[in-house]
């Protein structure tokens, strides 16, 4: 069993947590129109790497808060645990974040609302 360090509660057993799948999937903003195929990609396609994977986890039996984990899918080693809304800081975490195909996808580009220009 994995021992996961919840950012709020400390080390707990894996059985207290639930995994929420891939992290850093940004929803395209309504105002940005994208094609159906690009939306499909956002909705259904998930990374399945052999190596470092950035995941969302929830401490279901404890504080019920979500956070992110950079975990190796082969060795189960946890490289980094960081809060929601942040990006990984370790070298391996950063590399996995940058290497993800999603960074260059149309859906992610459309997730950022265009900056308002001053009138």
């Amino acid at each position: 069993m994995l021992k996961i360090k919840c950012p709020y509660c400390g080390y707990r057993n894996e059985s207290e947590f639930s995994c929420g799948g891939e992290a850093h999937i940004a929803r395209p903003a309504v105002s940005n129109k994208i094609t159906d195929s690009a939306f499909c990609e956002y909705l259904f396609m998930r990374e399945n790497p052999k190596g470092v994977f950035l995941e969302r986890w929830c401490h279901t039996s404890g504080c019920r808060r979500w956070f992110n984990i950079a975990r190796d899918t082969v060795s189960h080693e946890i490289y980094e645990i960081y809060l929601m809304g942040n990006t990984p800081k370790t070298v391996k975490g950063k590399k996995a974040y940058q290497a993800n195909w999603r960074r260059t996808s149309k859906a992610e580009a459309a997730s950022k609302t265009p900056k308002r220009t001053k009138k």
Partner: protein, 205 residues
């Protein structure tokens, strides 16, 4: 009025269904080493507030909200338990929770905090006795050693698949707060797991 009805219906259903007291012990033990009873009608309030408003809420409820998760503070019979970075559970004397709810909802920070009365959603069980730590360890993965789980510490964990909040009052005295719907199951588990130490289940106070 509605409050009284709901409490009669759900509040202590798990305990009222059974004929109390229940004593379960092996023949070689004379006195039950674990005592269990429900704390009846304990007021419970769930408060969510940002750290900016923590001090103001503390003043209003006259009990300091703990700064760290997994800790609790108590003052004049009221407990404030930290459930997360911005979530707290307040335990108050019966009826006291309505008063607190009114105070908080009529204060000038009412817009910024959320107050929910969860008195009927949760059930509080008082556990005491010499072997209580050993007994709880049978179903709880948390380290309950007296050196690592001390007075004024609280923990949210699972006891035999039931999600509970465990509070340490004294070395051998705990309050266990569980969902009312799980109270029946937890009571069954306690009677079963406590049999080897001798367990006495009495009606609450």
């Amino acid at each position: 009025m509605a409050e009284n009805i709901s409490r009669a219906a759900f509040g202590s259903a798990a305990f009222e269904k059974r004929r109390l007291p229940i004593i379960k012990k092996p023949e070689n033990i004379e006195v039950a080493q674990i005592e269990l009873s429900e704390i009846l009608h304990l007021g419970k309030l769930n408060i969510r507030c940002n750290s900016i408003y923590r001090d103001k809420v503390s003043k209003l409820i006259q009990c300091d909200l703990p700064l760290e998760p997994n800790y609790m503070s108590n003052k004049a019979g009221r407990f404030a338990i930290s459930l997360g970075p911005d979530e707290y559970l307040i335990l108050a004397e019966p009826g006291g929770e309505n008063q607190l709810e009114k105070i908080l909802n009529s204060s000038n920070i009412a817009k910024h905090i959320s107050v929910v009365n969860v008195s009927d959603a949760f059930c509080a069980i008082l556990l005491s006795g010499k072997k209580v730590r050993e007994f709880l360890s049978k179903g709880c993965p948390i380290d309950l050693d007296p050196n690592s789980f001390q007075e004024n510490q609280s923990v949210q964990c699972d006891i035999a698949l039931a999600n509970v909040i465990l509070l340490c009052l004294e070395e051998n005295e705990f309050i266990c707060i569980c969902r009312t719907s799980f109270a029946n199951y937890l009571l069954d588990w306690c009677c079963d797991a406590g049999q080897e130490f001798g367990i006495l289940v009495t009606k609450g106070i």
